[in-house]
Symmetry: C4
Subunit: 232 residues, 4 copies
């Protein structure tokens, strides 16, 4: 079997095209899951939305359904931000192994539950304190789980030399530090639930906005611009 294995690695890693296809398929597959997650809340609006409520005037029914819109926007913001992070990290991944794919499946497992927990959260914003804390805890659990496995993905890809071979180690560490910061900030936002759930929700959305702005590992136009000039 050892001979077969040695040859296997030769066929697998000896071709540039093969490598690119491997990592690209993981991205395509993950994008399928992201696409469903991003649209599912809009489908939910359509199916159990205000238009179906009877015994109410349409303007009132539409206005009364504000938690549904909020759940849609929250889901879209969170899932969109996670997609950005996923896109930014996987750009640097040159090869994949079995464990990296399994870690990515765990990331997707948590991402796919975001619509469910975001919907629970928005439904219970007007409820009692117990409901608010429970749903906020579930929601944070989902987002925490996702960011823990994103961190593990990056750590594993670095450890097993699956990243681009000539990637600067300092950049790898800067990305790891930034990715590690996220679950910690989420925990802080979670602690605020015990003070005020609405405040906690706002803290999350602020965090999402913060991560949309960019940092090490994100795509930045300025760096590209200089490059572009020298290439022209």
């Amino acid at each position: 079997m050892a001979g077969a294995d040695a040859r296997e690695s030769e066929y697998r890693y000896g071709r540039g095209r093969e490598k690119a296809r491997d990592a690209a398929r993981v991205e395509t597959f993950s994008d399928g899951v992201f696409g469903v997650v991003l649209t599912v809340m809009a489908v939910e609006l359509l199916q159990s939305g205000p238009a179906r409520e009877s015994g109410r005037e349409l303007p009132n029914a539409l206005a009364h359904a504000w938690p549904s819109y909020l759940a849609y926007v929250i889901t879209f913001a969170i899932a969109g931000q996670v997609w950005l992070t996923h896109h930014n990290l996987w750009r640097y991944v040159a090869r994949v192994d079995q464990m990296l794919l399994v870690l990515n499946l765990f990331v997707l497992l948590f991402i796919a539950t975001i619509p469910f927990t975001a919907d629970l959260l928005s439904d219970n914003l007007r409820g009692g304190v117990t409901e608010q804390r429970l749903t906020a805890a579930l929601y944070v659990g989902t987002v925490l789980g996702e960011s823990v496995f994103v961190n593990l993905t990056w750590w594993w890809a670095d450890r097993r030399r699956l990243l681009h071979p000539d990637l600067d180690p300092r950049l790898v560490r800067a990305i790891a530090r930034r990715a590690l910061l996220k679950p910690l900030l989420y925990l802080v936002a979670f602690a605020v639930v015990f003070i005020d759930p609405i405040l906690s929700l706002c803290a999350y959305l602020l965090l999402v906005g913060f991560y949309l702005i960019g940092g090490p590992g994100d795509l930045r136009p300025s760096a590209g611009r200089t490059e572009d000039r020298s290439a022209a």
Copy 2:
């Protein structure tokens, strides 16, 4: 950190293959959302459609459900046309940055709500004037939001030099003018709601047809034909 950033741009933009994968992933991801949006109304037909209505003869039930078919066709026409625009613009995008991805997420945020607003619209075509105006306004809001962010995407990609470096600036401006025209025409079609909602809806469908025919930035066969001959 500055050193890491400088090297980062080197790894990122120094390879042709990388660039292509970056822009291609955005297209794949967006196509996932488009695919769900295009099929969701057909799924809706299946789930809450005429076949489920009891106490009616099947031919009557099917005929009575015409607003559902209309909503399906409207959604398909609009989302299909937006997909064409998206396809035509992104063909020229060579690189992406964080902001371009965020702008694209906003485009998708509005696109994903098209089934919901198209369904509301078609449900209320037989309703009172208030319902017609409200749902038409919501619908236009969605399409307007989408086309505003499409404009911003193009403007940003041009400003940050993310387009193909040897693209003719006159073509870039011609595409920008055409893209800018669209929200203005949509606003005119919206104003017609206050005269007649059905007329307004027809104006939209005309607009969609107009944009399907083609213009600067669209794929045209004639140009390709000449090219093809010279290449042969």
Copy 3:
């Protein structure tokens, strides 16, 4: 504007990579729609399926739901066969233009309604003759519409020289003849509805099986095998 257009065609068609991406994106986008269509009936089984029926023993409930399983298998067979045809035709498409994309959208418009009409059909197999004929007619309408637009796609791609430039014209015509045969056979199968709806349904499934076996334009292993030997 004429100058801009001339340059545009240069940027667009002057690069091999661009062409491949254009046609590839259409395939990815169409695959998103096909993916949803193939799975939607299984989701339907899950949501309104036998497990939800109350007041019945599980074995009876499962057995009683056979039209749902039939609808799933029919939808999968038809949509799978259409995907194969789509795959086989688009392999030869080297470039796209606006009209080809619009024709492809029409193909998708009809494909997305297959689950709805297949579900109607299977629900009414035990109903009266009127219901059987009406739902069979709707079903054939969908499949006919799809195959008419598939024919138009191929005819347009050939006429506008969007196919691979060195493709044998005899092969192009053989594929066109085979694609044209399909709507005719579907019409014959439809005419059988007036004799016996169940017989008509069997005729369809036979047709699908016939098209799965292969013909000109389909991928055949034997040809590849010879090629493979000469390449080795």
Copy 4:
């Protein structure tokens, strides 16, 4: 027609780019189906989930819905593991033919029913022995059908020389043996249903875990690591 066929094979297999696109499209298409299957149970949680149950306190309602969470995790684990297998096998496929695509469609036919059977299974874990055995049998039938067609896919691709031409035949056989082992192990796990359904379910999850760890044909980091060093 024979002349047309000979030339056809020339156009089809004479270009490296074409081949890669053919196999890549099958992966993209399959990933669309996998993406929907992985997320559908999370959508199910959202739509018929505990939040919709009335007359219960939220904490109780959430706790009472544990079979739904179990169904989600089971579906995700199984479908994720099948995706991994699919990814690992298709990496070695260089070309496709009509029959390989048909076999792949059969694999997808069974995969798309996993959410339905997993849901039935988890709903009836608290039911009588008849329900437990029936739903476990259905579930195993689905997974068995899937793995039989995965085996056929590999056997056909090998027989028709559709795999990478320089792939070691010993590796091809090692992968075939491992793929063949799976339906046998599934049958054993099924036999356990007649002793204890819960034990049988645990045996499946163990099997899934076992296949996640890796074996011949899976991506392994160690082999890549050595390769990476020699390439540096």
